[in-house]
Symmetry: C2
Subunit: 126 residues, 2 copies
């Protein structure tokens, strides 16, 4: 273990979610290997984008959201998840505020290769 | 995309959990890149083990569980997660049945390097 310090606190989703209010601005709550777990509050429409090098996991913690694909749409409710395959264009949206967890490799930008005013600051921990 | 078929069904945790009853026998529900998301029902004590090459994520979907470490213990309730660092010995347990999601690289064995009657068949999808 050579000096590694382990944080033995459970990571509580509701508590973490209470720390921010912005929409479309994922905050990191945990890392495993080179992957990050991020919480986000979303409402309204995001931009069309894809992630050329990685799949992306969406897990709905509270509320409902949809992920539009060019020829299809997936609806997700609390207690459901979906894996967006790499390089597939998608546009998340939520009519009412929805709380989600994202899983993706370190360094992934929320808008993928689409630069937008919705491009969020990266690597923000809460 | 070249012929990739995307499954556009949401993955519903409760529905997936209704497909099995065994304890300590993780079932795969999704893959992202070379990582797998697995559901498990646990009750009682597991074995001490570690995973030499990878961290391991525990997310509690229903109920309560604990993860014992050699000098500490973490309690986790519904809506909480914990990342067990690689190579750290741990023993999960739950007094009452608890439903969890695990995230780990493909091919990880549930008991790590500890062979046991609790070693589950690997790579089972539901």
């Amino acid at each position: 273990m050579g000096g590694t310090t382990i944080n033995f606190d459970a990571i509580n989703f509701k508590e973490k979610l209470s720390n921010f209010n912005e929409h479309w601005s994922p905050k990191i709550i945990a890392e495993m290997n080179n992957y990050q777990f991020k919480l986000a509050k979303i409402q309204g429409e995001f931009v069309w984008h894809d992630h050329k090098d990685t799949d992306e996991v969406f897990i709905v913690l509270e509320g409902e959201m949809s992920i539009a694909f060019r020829d299809k749409e997936v609806k997700l409710s609390k207690g459901e998840m979906f894996v967006v395959p790499k390089a597939v264009e998608h546009k998340p949206y939520a009519e009412k505020e929805c709380h989600i967890m994202l899983v993706e490799p370190k360094g992934v930008i929320n808008t993928g290769d689409t630069h937008s005013e919705l491009t969020a600051e990266n690597n923000v921990w809460i």
